[in-house]
Every structure is written in C-alpha cells, then in structure tokens.
Symmetry: C2
Subunit: 290 residues, 2 copies
C-alpha cells in the first residue's frame, strides 16, 4: 500500500526548523566544514516584533543538528541575540571548529540581508556536542512539588502574540501579573509546558521551551517595561533517549532572577520531565528599559 | 622628579594579560574590524596540564577589552574550552560582529600552532558589551552570612599546582574533601577570595575568579575523578565603577551543581563584593570521567 505524504500535517515547529542547504563555493579557505543554510521565520512563532527568541535559538541549533559532520549530541549551547530578526528569510552558517575524540565545538551565526542588500549578523552562537558515556549520575536540583497539569487551567495570554499559542502552559505559581500596579514581588514562576500541538521532545524543542518564561522583570516589578534577551545558554542534562522517553509529555519549568542592574537582569531556569529528570538548566541575560 | 618604571613590580595577572597586537593583511574581506593578538601562557598560572582555565578566559576577554572599537563594558561572556592549551604562545582573534546603539556583540577565538606548524582552535568565545544606563536595580540573590575573611585561615592546597597560589582563598564551608573516601555530600562551597598579591578588581580578574571553585563533582562524591571545564558563562552585574570600588577587597563566592549526568555536570556560582553587591553570576558545564 502506498502512503500519501500529507505535508499539511507537518508540525509548525518542524516547519519552522526546516533549513535548506545552500551550496557555497569551495574557495572559502580553511573553512571546508562550514555549511550554509537558508531558513525563514514562521508566522505561527511570531512575537511582537520579529520571531519568538526560542524558535530562533532552535533554528540555530538545528544548523548543528543537521550538519553531516556532527559528533554526538548537544551538551551546551549559547546563543546571543545581536539584533531583532526581521520577518522573512535568514541564512545560517554552522561550522565545527574543533573535533576531539568525544567532544566537538561549534560556531554558528545567523544573518539577514536588508532591502539595500547589506548582510548583517543577527545571531552568534556556540555549541558543544559530545558522545556521552554512561557514568555515575545524580540530580541535585529537586523538582518542586506542584499540582498535576490536568488540574491546572491553561494560561490565557493576549492573542496578539502568535507564538504563545504554540505552547500549552499551565501556571503553578508566579503567573504573569493580572494587575500592572508596580507592586514588587519575588521573581519565581513555575509552570507545566509542552508544544501545542503536542510534539515529541528533542534538543531543538527543549531549547525553545527554555525560553518560554515571560521576562522576570515583569513579575518582579509588575511593570511591563520593554525587554529583550541578549544571551541565552542551555545545558542539556539528558541524551536523545531520555528526551524521546519524555515524548509529548508536559515538562515542569521554573525560572527566577538573581540580579537586576542598570538595564540588564539574569534569568535562570530548570526544566524537568514529568517523572523528575532534570532535562536542562538554562540561563539568560536580558535587557530591560528603566 | 623622574619615576623609574620598575617592570618587575607588574602583577603576575597583568603579565599574563599582556597581549601584543599582530598586524594582519588588510585583505581579510569583510573582516576589517578583526584584531589579532599574540599572548603567552604564564607559569605562575599553570594548572596540572596547561594553564588555569580562568586565566585563559581572562585573556580571551582581554582581547575584547583592548579592542579599539569596543563599545561599553562587558555584560555577558561565554568561553568554550575546545582543547587543553599547551604552555607557550597563543594567538587571539577578536571581532565586533554587530554594533548597535548601546550594545555590541563579539566573537573571539584562541588558537595555537603545534610543532608541525598546524594551527588549531583551542578556545571559542562570545561576548556582549553595553553602554549601561542607570535604571531601577535590585539583587534577589541574597549574600549568605559567613564569618569575616580575617577570622578564617587561608586554604592550603597542594603546591604542585601553581595557579592556586595566585589566589588567597578562605573557605567558609564546603572545603575540598580532606578524605577522598567516596562519601557523598552536597555540592555547595562558600569562600572568600581575592588575587594574591592583592590587585584592584576589574572585568578580567572577576572572570578568572569565577573559575577558582574546585570541581563540584569532587565535593559531591569525595572522589578525585578527572575533570575539565567545557564551557563557562559569566554575567556581569556591575560596571567598572562598582568593580573599582571593590578594590583589592575580598569577594564572597558560592558554587554548587544542579545535575551530574553521563559525563558532564553543571556548576553555578555567585560572587559578591564584601558589602553585598552581587558582582557576577557564572555557570559552567564540566566534563567528568566515570
């Protein structure tokens, strides 16, 4: 029996991740391993201006994941948001700059060409992949005890931002302020989260999920000041097998800030599988105005 | 009165930071802003094999600090340790890839040439610098209450590692195991720290200080398994003025792990000035064997 592939059933996240190889002249001296890819922002992951940062981070990581010379799986990934992406095409360049016996170091960049034809870097990133071996393991970050996702109503956020609809988020505590009254609070939020529609977890989707927390300064101050992530790092504490075992299940995420100082604050997050495996820890530095 | 400059009084940290500009042909198309520097490992910051990672990170950041096109001060810095440095010369390349109105994004790499004349990347790094503005500020990470540094004996560690002698460390809790008996414990350590000889704090020395904590897996397991930092990120929560105000004073540092999984663990650290300003938060991913 022939199966007819129905392209319309592709998950929007996979549509967004689609990168097309761009052939490049072989003359780029000393850069034989560099691969170029063409991508495009996806309207279903749009933010107020340009795309959701988490989807851009995932697209940058995807340029590592689909590089034919990749060794092992991501263990560390840092992405720097150098400029707001414009809706439309972008170009990704990924390059393994050092390959060791069991680890590999990557440099990635995303650039866009403006209407005048000038190409500019919008993202810089570095990644480390590794062929893991089974060792003694232990998780010290204890998963907080919270109600099960089925008992919590889905968060309803303003529909004017498309990407929010791509995540089923069930706030446990520290929900986005209902009243923007400037009343200071702690900066901690906990929520269940998964893709909508549900999608089996992988490194790229976990990277995007690490960025779904609304900005800590909004919670801390109950003031909706303009913000923008400057840099985000994700450490992966699971391999592909553990991510696959999580499947389409909810993750428990937790985020909080440590310092707000003269225009920038940090934000640390942990993401656990429902059965308590700490899958990733993530940190970011975020610009805020005033 | 003429002052005779006595070069022998230069602090070893400043000796280690000395980078000499290397002229490069102007033909590197599209890379006009790239600067190349020559550096050298310093014997007083030697580790078991090659140099202390913190000094290498500081040298990489120094290539940003002394770049003539730098805008503002570091707010975020990520360094990836792609290979062990060999003792001797290295080359640093720093390039501002995007300069905005108040932020600037940097790509840095360190490379070494082996005896056969083959140059390889040993460090990749990215940095963000920014012209900060005064805003509402708050520190949520509370400085722990510990005895004053003068009341704590200086740590005496094995003299076989040179760099340890470059830091005056006063352990408050979670000292390196006296007995390597495999008894599991928590992964938290707190200590006062400063350069030895004392030296006024700046971004580069703060970066190095963020890496002085001994590997968390040693504390957690009381087993001295081989380890190596793979990636380290430092977020700066202070400007040059706040660092200068700290002067040569002790910083209180705290580090702990969240996850140990199949060969890698994470390590998060905070560094406060003695008067309680959180100067930096730092995170790293570390390889461990078995």
């Amino acid at each position: 029996m022939n199966k007819v592939r129905n392209v319309t059933t592709l998950h929007p996240f996979d549509e967004a991740l689609a990168l097309t190889p761009v052939p490049v002249s072989a003359q780029e001296h000393g850069r034989e391993s560099t691969r170029h890819w063409q991508g495009r922002t996806h309207p279903l992951y749009a933010n107020m201006v340009g795309p959701f940062g988490g989807i851009t981070a995932a697209q940058a990581l995807q340029a590592v994941m689909q590089h034919p010379e990749r060794l092992g799986e991501p263990i560390s990934f840092t992405v720097n948001f150098a400029a707001a992406l414009s809706d439309g095409d972008f170009r990704v360049e990924s390059r393994p700059v050092r390959t060791n016996r069991s680890t590999q170091h990557w440099v990635v960049s995303v650039s866009q060409t403006d209407p005048a034809g000038i190409e500019s870097v919008v993202i810089t990133a570095t990644a480390v992949t590794a062929a893991r071996r089974t060792t003694w393991s232990a998780a010290d970050a204890v998963m907080p005890s919270v109600p099960v996702p089925g008992s919590i109503a889905r968060a309803s956020r303003p529909a004017r931002v498309a990407w929010i609809q791509r995540y089923d988020m069930r706030p446990c505590s520290g929900e986005i302020p209902a009243d923007w009254n400037g009343a200071e609070a702690d900066s901690l939020s906990r929520l269940w989260m998964r893709d909508d529609p549900p999608r089996a977890l992988d490194f790229c989707s976990l990277t995007a999920l690490a960025d779904v927390f609304y900005p800590r300064v909004w919670r801390r101050r109950a003031l909706m000041t303009p913000v923008g992530t400057v840099s985000m790092t994700v450490y992966f504490h699971a391999g592909a097998a553990e991510l696959a075992a999580t499947g389409e299940g909810y993750l428990l995420g937790q985020a909080r800030a440590q310092s707000f100082f003269n225009g920038f604050f940090d934000q640390s997050a942990e993401l656990w599988s429902r059965d308590g495996h700490l899958l990733a820890s993530s940190h970011q530095l975020v610009y805020f105005k005033e």
